[in-house]
Symmetry: C4
Subunit: 355 residues, 4 copies
């Protein structure tokens, strides 16, 4: 991968060239008419920045500490499934690049490399583990123990998926299963019990999962729980009542319910509802450093990127992910500098104007 790729969009183009079209569609596509997929990106273009001048701020500081985990940049690796579709090394390559960038990787429950192997491949990495609560709570607990043992520092519990998203591209492409030789390794039963290579359980997305399951999960582990997929302020308040450690505003990249608003448009209300009680993360449509500082100016403690990481991985493996993360880090620093700010701490809503 020697080409000059100055922007995330260039990585997407490079990835498209290299990926099986059905796999590209799997990663790029979304639910329904993909209105939410497009809205996530488009919403940032409607937010303008009003920089300050002559502040003599020097080089900006962009590191953050989240739930005890330190990241050198406020851009995390969002949980996404099936990295081995993009690169043979899969989640191992992603984790090494995240470790090199000194940021947090949220390992997907639907990873194609087992979380222990991800951790082993990237010794310095800070890993969090993403979880769909399974109706079989014994199985859920086994997953939690496994994440704990692998050294994951937080649980990211996805709550926007009482059913699997309907994605027309996948139906058209007939993409409904991983190719031979790839599996959701975190769901392999023996792995969960004694390390052998046994059958893989399916991920259940169930409409019976409720706040009671969150309470059970909280009693089950001392890991901080990040609730991912909250879009309604009333649910943000409920989440605080149920003792979660952080909220993560997400519409699942537009892959679950179509026509949910763009996350950056949902963010201010969630931030207001949370009132600073816990950190608020978000993902959805982040493609530029200016997007990152807009989200943070509106109250996000940090953001996460999903598809950009996949495009880097498909375009150039570990090196591609490293370049994507490096590009975002450079753009964040640059945008802060041009806004006259010394630190992401100085971001505040007055910097952003709706246009």
């Amino acid at each position: 991968m020697t080409a000059v790729l100055p922007a995330i969009r260039d990585f997407e183009a490079a990835a498209r060239d290299r990926l099986d079209p059905a796999h590209y569609d799997y990663f790029a596509g979304g639910a329904g008419d993909e209105l939410t997929v497009r809205a996530n990106e488009a919403a940032f273009a409607r937010l303008a920045l009003l920089p300050r001048v002559l502040r003599g701020a020097g080089s900006p500081r962009i590191g953050v500490t989240l739930l005890g985990s330190r990241a050198a940049m406020p851009v995390l690796v969002a949980p996404t499934a099936f990295h081995r579709l993009a690169d043979p090394e899969g989640e191992k390559a992603t984790a090494r690049a995240a470790a090199a960038a000194e940021t947090i990787m949220i390992v997907s429950m639907a990873a194609t490399v087992a979380v222990e192997d991800v951790a082993a491949a990237a010794p310095g990495a800070t890993l969090w583990f993403q979880l769909y609560v399974q109706p079989d709570m014994a199985f859920t607990e086994a997953l939690v123990r496994r994440a704990e043992k692998a050294g994951c520092a937080a649980l990211v519990v996805t709550v926007d998926s009482p059913a699997r998203g309907r994605r027309d591209r996948d139906v058209r492409n007939g993409f409904d299963d991983l190719p031979a030789g790839m599996r959701c390794e975190n769901l392999r039963c023996e792995n969960l019990c004694d390390g052998g290579a046994g059958p893989v359980r399916p991920i259940v997305m169930s409409p019976v999962i409720s706040w009671e399951h969150v309470d059970m999960l909280r009693r089950m582990t001392r890991l901080p729980i990040v609730l991912k997929g909250v879009t309604h302020p009333a649910d943000a308040r409920l989440a605080l009542d149920h003792g979660v450690s952080a909220l993560y505003v997400s519409n699942h990249g537009g892959r679950q319910l179509d026509t949910v608003p763009a996350t950056v448009d949902l963010l201010p209300e969630i931030v207001a509802a949370v009132g600073g009680a816990v950190p608020v993360l978000m993902d959805g449509g982040i493609r530029r450093g200016t997007d990152v500082i807009k989200a943070m100016a509106l109250g996000a403690s940090a953001v996460a990127v999903g598809r950009p990481v996949i495009w880097g991985l498909a375009a150039g493996g570990e090196c591609g992910v490293a370049r994507v993360l490096g590009l975002l880090r450079d753009e964040v620093e640059h945008a802060l500098t041009l806004c006259g700010l010394a630190s992401t701490q100085d971001l505040e809503p007055g910097l952003v104007r709706r246009c």
Copy 2:
């Protein structure tokens, strides 16, 4: 019809491939510059959904009862003319598919199969009959009696047509009559009197029709009367004064007066004017399960689909209609599940946000 068609739009594409272009234009087109045709669909894209999470709602219930008629899903078959242009079996195929889907079919006065034959072809079907009041009230009464005898459970009286719509596509295509062998069988005179095959009367759309005709019609039958084509809240109130059993918000799919607002944008005011006194139905632009739940969240008791049924019929006959209705049913269930709701009863305006 073996192709995978994941969305209503795919059925439209398949139908376009199979239909005579002039017939496709007849079904797809509308009045004037077709601004209302496009507005109906576009309006749904400007309405966002704000789902709730962790409600433990289980599988949703989506059945409705309307004026004593039960439907297993809140999506009815809207009245549309000339089904035999789309499939040799015409309205018989449509009725069989509606019966299989356990939903209500509103048979058009301009059907190419007589309503008795429609009923006979689909024994289990729940049929309602759509009527343009004819200035010759004796003829109108004959039509009403015929619908009653065929077992129709309600009369859907279209009131947005004091004149026939001007549709430029049809003028350009020279489409002004049915092909040889097809007729509006409900308008065949002998059928109305003694069952023979005599001349067919034209449908008169007259600007003299007034509320008095509605009163006469109400005295004429015990069938519930659904007033279709009301767009002004003042007319909704008048309709209640005149004792109608339900309102049906429609701009005739953009086929009568161009530049009427999208129906889903008209809906809230009509719902407010009706104040729960009678059910409010609507059609216009419904192409997704999310569209259905948006309309119902804004106060519709159920919706109807016109063109989607035609696309299914043209793409695959009875089987095609069945697949279109099944697709919509699945999408409605899925959208409710992703919104965290147990039933269409739980839909309320707070779920929807204008974006």
Copy 3:
């Protein structure tokens, strides 16, 4: 001209096929980036109609009487220059078609047929005369007398032209003069004096023309004066102070100052400023019967069409103009009928909604 042309836009396409491209551009184009040209049409698409139902209105009446002139339809022929570029018969053909349609033709000062010859060619026509006040008031008076003698029933004084519009298309095409054999016949000097065929004076568009000139003009003639080109409400009030008989809201079809708002968006404020004291006409972007009734619902007493008449003339000469006027008349009647109205008199602002 035997083709079926169901809409004004079809006439434009036909005209484009027949006209010299530079002449097409002259008629179709406008000032600057042509934002106002496009805005005039686009503004109507943002105005929605909210029809009433079951009014039993019967066939609508659409005739109007303006300043003592009767028209069978509320659509006048706006003043446009150079009709002989579109058809050899030029303004004579237009006048005959206007007479047949029983509407008013506003003959342009820049006509390529002298106003007397226009009048002679169309005996039954109701003609008004459009005038740019010339700084040489003696010459202006000669023009007024000429219009009076030709039987014109009103003077339409254009006030939006203190300088000629800058139209890039004409510059690019090198179109700056009429072809050999065509002249602005109303400006031919001998005609003004003794009927001979002498030199033609140029039309002067001067920034020295002021309200004083309007006063002089008013003292000069008993013909009613219609002030054309007012866009600011303050000027509408001044016009009443100066005793004009009618106002004519126009941005010169986007041909003078670019980025002036669409006329239908300017109309309500002008109507409010005039307060019913005099009739308010308008032109700009009228392409459909629905456009006509929107403008009238917002307070216009009638509208005028410029380019549509030229497209008819180029597409089919007198017959083409007749078809364009007939199409608009039919569409106006049809739109009124579908709105449930008995007459253009019943149009009121509540029919229109901004969307």
Copy 4:
């Protein structure tokens, strides 16, 4: 250059044909996704003009006096780098054209001709000098002295550049240095000291520059200081506190921080903050005479054009720039005339309406 080019956009097209594509991209492109580049132009299209009629204003006066410098038109030459990329004569050609048009040229610190040579080549020209304050204040002072000696009448201090803009087009094109034989001549060291041809220092864009540097600069020279690149009203007030002589609203043509609002949208707040204390200039998106009068109606004392000058220079050297400036002068006069105004002094906010 004999072609007829009626609009600035035609000059851009001609320039594109003649320029090395990488150089065209350098001039045309901007930061990030170039949203601000496009917003600058698009914002003018959303501002409508409401002309007045019959004012008898005669030919308009459009000259302005700014900080003691007289200009025959309210359109200045904005500072832009590297004119020799567009024409071998570079800034000398631009200055001669500006002198002929009797307007002010702001010579860029990054000019490819030394400011003394620019002045010598265009004896009658009024020159201002654009400056990035360099952290090495001795070097900054040397630059100021040089500008003073060359006869520049004001310093335009750019404050929106604490770092160099990131422009993806340049990265893609590998454009990161001037071709052999071209240099930023104002940065040549010996020139600064004794006139010899020595090494060229790089332009430093530093985040340590602050209001203190502005204070130092003000103590360093008696030239009026124009602060360029202010977009926030709070910074406009600070600038007054620090004694600047004028403000210059600019987002650097969209070349520094992407998603800053269009300058014409920022202008009213800056004008309000300044309250008439000093003149307010602006650049960004000016392509028409109507754009100029909109900006001035909203409070700008004059405007500047950057890319249009480059397009003229590339299309036709000195003659091309002269034609671009002449075109804008003609369009400004014409727009004022059509608005019924006698002078740019008469422009006021009521002329402009947001649409």
